[in-house]
Amino acid sequence: MRDHLKYLVSLVLSLSLSLASAHASIRSEYEVKAAFLYNFTRFVTWSNGVTVSEPLDVCIYGDEPFGDLLAPLRGRKSQGRELQLRYPSVVADIAGCDVLFIGQSQSRNVDELLKMAQSQKGVLTVSDLPDFIRKGGIVGYVKQGNVIRFEISLKAAIEAGLTINSRLLELAVRVLR
């Protein structure tokens, strides 16, 4: 009788443990967003005559939601260019950025930032702010249920002088033309 109890207890324990590990494998929202951020760079072509040897500057603006989730991106290569992470603190500092991620904390500064980016040309703007692409952004995260997806403004991309791979467009929830 005692043996049976022991067996039951161990079974319950091992079950709960395996469930815990399964939970651990489910990635957090920003983990997915960080991966997406990197993947966006792989399907976008910068047409302003950059060479492979130049690093690809990824700027994170606003209070940092990623924590150290972006750390693995440092030094990785996208289309042959090495990724560089920058955390500019003022708008003026975004000069030279190839990718600009705008955090949710900057919802009031979006227009200013976008204007700055548009004037600079060749900046892929990414944000998880709602309606980001309507405001003139290029790629915006959207959440459908539990799944993170994205939408793209082709118009804004063309204005910024960027070419977006059709494969990426196929995957977009919505494409603004």
Binding site: V32, A35, F36, N39, R42, F43, K77, S78, Q79, G80, R149, F150, N165, R167, L168, E170, L171
Partner: protein
């Protein structure tokens, strides 16, 4: 198997040879075609699948990195139109199944790893293609295609190839049946001709010859040999005929001469008697009637005349006997020689002188021959033994017989005066005498008669002697077949 084939007919052998070789060739060609076709089809299938997989991998790269399962499913769903694809799975970087082709009877997607078998496995072709993005592997694409189409294709190919092979083979059977005659016909004709010649002994038959190849040469050589045999046969027959003619002619000539000679010698002997009897008769009459009118010289002459006439009568008798033993037909029978010799010696002892005589005749001697002739012969031999041993103190006459292979020899030995071996050549010739009439009386015909009798019995006679030591005459007669 090969042993049995040896008894096949030439035609069968040739047909077998041709058909076996061509069937083997056709089979090999078919087999290699099938093999090559199989390889080609596999390669084609492989490359097709690789192209499909490549396109799919390229299409699904973005969806993979953005983990868009919906998009992946729709990409993979395009494979539904390809019937041969049995299974399609997409894995992410970690090897987890992202999506798989639905609506097909299939097992679970196999787990990616070194244990995953790639290529032609069982009845499927499996392919695992990495999905790359900027040279970075972002996932894997697995495709499995069943090989039923390949199997069906190869099966059809095998059927068609065997069908064509069979048709070709049937055509070859007809062709070989016709073509084998080129080789077999001359050989068969040659063999038939040889058999006919051997059966009929007709050497005028010739084998038909066509062409100048080895068979043609064989036929020509055969014909030449046959004509050589024919010529030689003709020559042999001709020479045999001429020989026969010659022999016939010679035989008739000889027999005529022989007959003439015998008739002559008979008539001579016969006719000579007549005047001799007159001489003897009137001699006797003269002695009886006019004896007292003759003086001693006259009486002596008369006595000599009468003695000469008696000797001449003996000579004529001998000649008559000689001619008779030459002419007489032979009646062969088994003769008790011992008894015959006993009779002769009794006769001889009856007319004999006073010399004590010891006669040793081996008992139980049997010979085969004409009894009258043999009696004459042995009478002569014994009489000679008697005569030439008359001057001894004691006469010893011995007759012994020996068997020597196919011959039986009878030896007559005496202890008389013997003769000089230098004159052995003249011993058996008529009218040749080794002693003077004053020593021993005689006609000189006796041994010639003996010789003639022995020769007519296909035998032989020989004599050995030493002067004063007696003589030995050996008569050799052939043993008759039925005589033990």
């Amino acid at each position: 198997m090969i042993g049995r084939r040896r008894y096949w007919r030439l035609k069968t052998k040739l047909l077998f040879l041709t058909l076996f070789t061509s069937a083997l060739g056709i089979a090999l060609v078919c087999a290699s075609l099938i093999f090559v076709e199989n390889q080609n089809y596999r390669k084609q299938l492989e490359s097709e699948l690789h192209v499909i997989a490549g396109i799919l991998a390229e299409q699904s790269a973005a969806a993979l990195v953005f983990e868009d399962n919906q998009q992946l499913s729709s990409i993979i769903a395009s494979l539904k139109r390809i019937d041969t694809i049995r299974q399609a799975c997409v894995y992410d970087q970690q090897g987890n199944v992202m999506t798989s082709l639905s609506g097909r009877q299939q097992g679970q997607c196999p787990s990616v790893g070194p244990s995953l078998e790639i290529g032609f496995v069982g009845d499927a072709y499996r392919l695992l293609m990495p999905v790359t993005l900027d040279n970075e592997v972002v996932g894997q694409l697995f495709l499995a295609s069943h090989l039923e189409v390949l199997r069906g294709h190869i099966r059809t190919f095998v059927f068609v190839a065997s069908g064509i092979g069979a048709v070709i083979l049937i055509a070859l059977v007809f062709l070989a049946l016709r073509l084998q005659r080129i080789v077999s016909e001359p050989i068969l004709k040659l063999s038939e001709t040889a058999e006919r010649i051997a059966q009929d002994h007709d050497y005028s038959i010739r084998a038909p010859v066509s062409g100048t190849d080895e068979l043609g040469r064989l036929g020509n050589t055969f014909n030449e040999m046959i004509s050589t045999i024919q010529q030689q046969n003709r020559r042999i027959l001709e020479s045999r005929d001429s020989l026969e003619r010659i022999v016939e002619a010679r035989t008739s000539e000889l027999s005529m001469a022989n007959r003439e000679l015998e008739a002559f010698s008979y008539s001579v002997s016969h006719d000579l008697r007549q005047p001799l009897r007159a001489v003897e008769g009137f001699g006797q009459a003269l002695e009886e009637d006019c004896g007292d009118q003759l003086n001693d010289v006259g009486k002596d002459y008369l006595k000599r005349i009468r003695a000469a006439s008696v000797r001449m009568a003996g000579l004529i008798d001998g000649l008559l006997i000689l001619s008779r033993v030459s002419r007489q037909s032979m009646e062969n029978q088994t003769i008790d020689l011992s008894q015959l010799l006993e009779e002769i010696t009794e006769e001889l002892q009856g007319i004999s002188d006073e010399v004590p005589t010891e006669i040793l005749i081996q008992p139980g001697m049997w010979i085969v021959g004409d009894s009258r002739m043999l009696r004459v012969a042995f009478q002569n031999l014994l009489a000679n033994a008697w005569k030439y041993s008359a001057k001894e103190e004691k006469r010893v006459v011995q007759v012994v017989s020996r068997r020597e292979g196919r011959w039986v020899s009878v030896e007559v030995r005496d202890n008389g005066v013997g003769f000089d071996m230098r004159y052995i050549d003249k011993l058996f010739v008529a009218f040749n005498r080794l002693h003077t009439p004053s020593e021993f009386g005689g006609t000189g015909i006796g041994l010639a008669t003996v010789y003639r009798v022995v020769r007519r019995h296909h035998g032989d006679i020989s004599a050995t002697s030493q002067l004063g030591e007696g003589a030995s005459f050996v008569v050799k007669l052939p043993v008759a077949e039925d005589q033990g």
